[in-house]
């Protein structure tokens, strides 16, 4: 195999992915928007972490002390790579369309595996760009490092990526060997969902309590370090932070030792993944690509269809079937709903909320999140089937209204269950229940409408993981919109609880929803008409 040719072709693929040339199916403008968004986020993170390091410096922390904060950010990147991007690498390695070509080519298994890892790098480097690099920059601005250290940084970042995803791929391939092939993709998706769940619960309940117990950011960092599990000190994030801290302190030997540890771990992870791939990749690819087998059935039933179901009935019936059969998505929504409802409890040690306000905060947290979890996924969930919205004699607005109703049909029972639990647990009065629902239900309608628009504009129809149904730009935009809604509704809930308690204030959210929801649905229908489908 001629590696220079292979590398050149992969570089061209990456270039065409990010800088598409005008022509068939090109989406000029979107990559630029994604890059701008990434740059904005990276700048924000760099400033935020730079502010933290500046505060640490003002408290008298030296470069090595402050590197504890850097280690946390880099470890978060590592964990994020595993939780959010592993599925992307596994999909690239196991499901990409060119795998059959590579398998038939006279290329050793480890080489084709290396090529696919290269392919996965641009698609999975967002966390490095948005979190790891800004953290390093934020640190280096406050605690300057010598020029030679910047030469080591790319090596360190690639190592961080390789450790997370090399190990992840090795474990995933072993897993895909033993789980039934028909459920392999779902198992991966659910594992990722549960990883997020465990991390969320752990971090959300531990960190605020540490913050409460600590007098200063430096004390909090030391408290986190002291309570971190044993392996944390031997993690790549800590090594890279040590490298930066030592370089800033002028200890080149220590910095190089820390980098050597990182490189060795990365090499070990890649070798492990390579060995596992060499032995099992072919069989896993074959299992997954031939995953579905048809069941043998008895005599065929005659075709009897509902007399005249109407568009809405047909959409609801279809969505119910699809939703119940896709238990990765179902599981993800159930887990996410529980997490979002619990979110306001996380901060409980930091502030005191009265019962009614806490109930509103919990339910509002859930409702705005359902806009993200259910609303944004409605359109990408249809995958290529969405083309029927363009082929069939159904106006785009009717399709979107139908989808809005079906998202409401999914979201409303979730809100009803959560509301029953929260209201019962907090013992709200009848008036408090009415005023709570008067804000929660309009918030739900608006959140779902916003979610539908975001999902229509930024759908990723080729998704392989339930948390990646939107493009990266779409996910970022949806997160920003979710945060904006959460802030707005919490502010309104506080205002409604403490200041404006009259009927007009209670009905204002309903009035807002009455105006906003049709406008958002009209915007979404326009977006659906505009999108190239099929």
């Amino acid at each position: 195999m001629i590696w220079s040719g292979v590398l050149l072709s992969r570089a061209r693929l990456a270039r065409n992915q990010f800088l598409p040339r005008p022509g068939r199916g090109s989406t000029t403008g979107r990559p630029l928007f994604a890059a701008t968004l990434a740059l904005v986020l990276a700048t924000f993170v760099a400033f935020a972490l730079g502010g933290l390091f500046l505060q640490l410096q003002s408290e008298g922390a030296d470069a090595r002390d402050a590197s504890v904060g850097l280690a946390l950010a880099l470890t978060a990147s590592l964990v994020g790579l595993i939780a959010f991007d592993l599925h992307e690498v596994v999909s690239t390695v196991v499901l990409d369309s060119d795998l059959e070509l590579l398998r038939r080519a006279p290329v050793p298994a480890w080489s084709s595996f290396a090529i696919k890892l290269l392919d996965a790098f641009p698609r999975t480097s967002a966390l490095l760009v948005i979190l790891a690099v800004p953290a390093l920059v934020g640190y280096a601005v406050i605690y300057p490092v010598p020029a030679w250290c910047w030469g080591l940084v790319p090596l360190a970042l690639v190592s961080l990526w390789a450790i997370a995803l090399g190990l992840g791929v090795a474990v995933a391939l072993l897993l895909l060997r033993v789980v039934p092939a028909t459920t392999a993709r779902e198992v991966l998706g659910l594992l990722s969902t549960f990883a997020v769940f465990v991390l969320w619960i752990g971090n959300s309940f531990v960190l605020p309590r540490l913050a409460l117990d600590s007098a200063s950011p430096l004390a909090m960092l030391h408290a986190i370090e002291a309570k971190a599990p044993w392996g944390y000190r031997l993690s790549p994030g800590t090594w890279i932070a040590e490298m930066m801290g030592a370089a800033s302190a002028g200890d080149a030997a220590h910095a190089l030792r820390a980098l050597a540890s990182t490189l060795a771990a990365a090499a070990a992870a890649v070798v492990l993944a390579g060995v596992v791939a060499a032995h099992h990749l072919g069989s896993v690819q074959a299992r997954v690509s031939n995953a579905r087998g048809r069941a043998t059935r008895g005599p065929a039933r005659a075709m009897r269809f509902a007399r005249r179901p109407g568009l809405l009935g047909a959409l609801l019936s279809r969505d119910l079937k699809l939703f119940l059969r896709d238990w990765t998505v179902l599981g993800d929504i159930v887990v996410a709903s529980a997490l979002w409802t619990l979110l306001p409890l996380v901060g409980a040690p930091l502030y005191t909320l009265e019962r009614a306000l806490l109930a509103r905060a919990m339910l509002l947290s859930l409702t705005v999140a359902l806009g993200y979890e259910v609303g944004t996924r409605a359109i990408p969930f249809e995958r290529r089937g969405l083309v029927w919205a363009r082929l069939a004699p159904v106006p785009a607005w009717r399709w979107i209204v139908g989808r809005a109703v079906s998202t409401l049909a999914v979201a409303l029972p979730v809100v009803a269950i959560a509301a029953t639990g929260v209201i019962g647990a907090l013992g709200l009065t009848a008036l408090e229940i009415v005023t709570t629902l008067a804000i929660v239900l309009p918030a739900l309608a608006i959140a779902l409408a916003i979610g539908l628009w975001t999902g229509t504009a930024h759908a990723n129809f080729e998704w392989t993981h339930p948390r990646a149904m939107l493009t990266l730009t779409g996910r970022t935009l949806a997160t920003v919109l979710l945060l904006a809604q959460a802030v707005g509704w919490f502010a309104w809930a506080m205002y409604g609880t403490h200041v404006a308690t009259g009927l007009s204030a209670t009905l204002l959210p309903l009035a807002l929803a009455t105006v906003l929801v049709p406008a958002l649905l009209a915007l979404t229908a326009r977006e659906l008409r505009r999108r190239t489908l099929g």
Partner: protein, 253 residues
């Protein structure tokens, strides 16, 4: 909404169709007619613009210039009536993978507002002819390529459209399936309905189609019956004509 085609209107009339991708013109000032009771073969080398043309006619790609009328309804002005009048079998079908074929067809029938007492027997007949009945309750994601093509065909026919457009329909079908498809298309034509078939298989086009249009680089190179295309060379096959017309140095039509 009136679903019946306008009496006597040709199934498809395309005039001056232009479709560009950036600087590249995929279809250039194309005129195309599918007459009632006719199977029109749409031929051309790879990248000639066949799929782009069909996607424009199906409303999946907007045309940059020109008009498209389906069963007498202008696609731009009366998109719903035009859409109700055609069926489309793409080269890569559009499915909800986790519905069974039965559920999928029932959903499509509802989209086209076909009453259950009409759609049910029609689906039964189509599934029997397409040899799909035994697999009707399996999820589509378990189907082979050929079975998917058949389900896609059933979906395109469930509302009995005036015009059927097929993009490479024979690919993936076994000999029985291919024969069944050809019989089905011929039957539709004999009922006065229109069929537009894009294919690379020149022998299929030669035996199945009443007329052919040959497209190259987005431009129509020739149009007519096989006899008309042969001209003075009575022994020429469609392949001979096709190769002569789509050579790089072939004269402009």
């Amino acid at each position: 909404m009136t679903r019946a085609p306008i009496a006597g209107a040709p199934p498809l009339v395309v005039r001056g169709l232009v479709r560009r991708y950036g600087e590249f013109t995929a279809v250039d000032a194309l005129d195309l007619d599918v007459r009632p009771g006719e199977i029109l073969g749409f031929l051309g080398p790879n990248g000639a613009g066949k799929t782009t043309t069909i996607k424009c006619c199906a409303g999946l790609l907007p045309a940059h210039a020109g008009t498209i009328e389906i069963a007498g309804y202008p696609l731009a002005r009366h998109p719903m009536l035009a859409r109700a009048s055609f069926g489309y079998v793409p080269d890569r079908p559009f499915f909800y993978e986790r519905l069974s074929a039965r559920e999928f067809i029932e959903f499509i029938a509802a989209l086209y507002d076909v009453p259950g007492d009409v759609a049910g027997p029609r689906a039964q007949e189509l599934f029997e002819r397409l040899d799909l009945l035994d697999a009707a309750d399996d999820l589509i994601e378990t189907y082979s390529h050929g079975m998917r093509q058949k389900v896609s065909l059933a979906a395109a026919l469930i509302h009995d459209p005036a015009l059927l457009m097929l993009d490479e329909p024979i690919t993936g079908l076994d000999p029985h399936g291919a024969r069944m498809l050809k019989d089905l298309l011929r039957e539709r034509a004999s009922r006065g309905l229109g069929v537009l078939v894009s294919t690379h298989l020149l022998d299929v086009a030669e035996r199945l189609c009443d007329r052919v249009v040959i497209l190259d680089h987005g431009v129509k190179r020739a149009e007519g019956t096989l006899a008309e295309l042969r001209g003075t060379d009575a022994a020429a096959t469609l392949e001979d004509v096709f190769l002569a017309l789509t050579r790089d140095d072939a004269p402009e039509a």
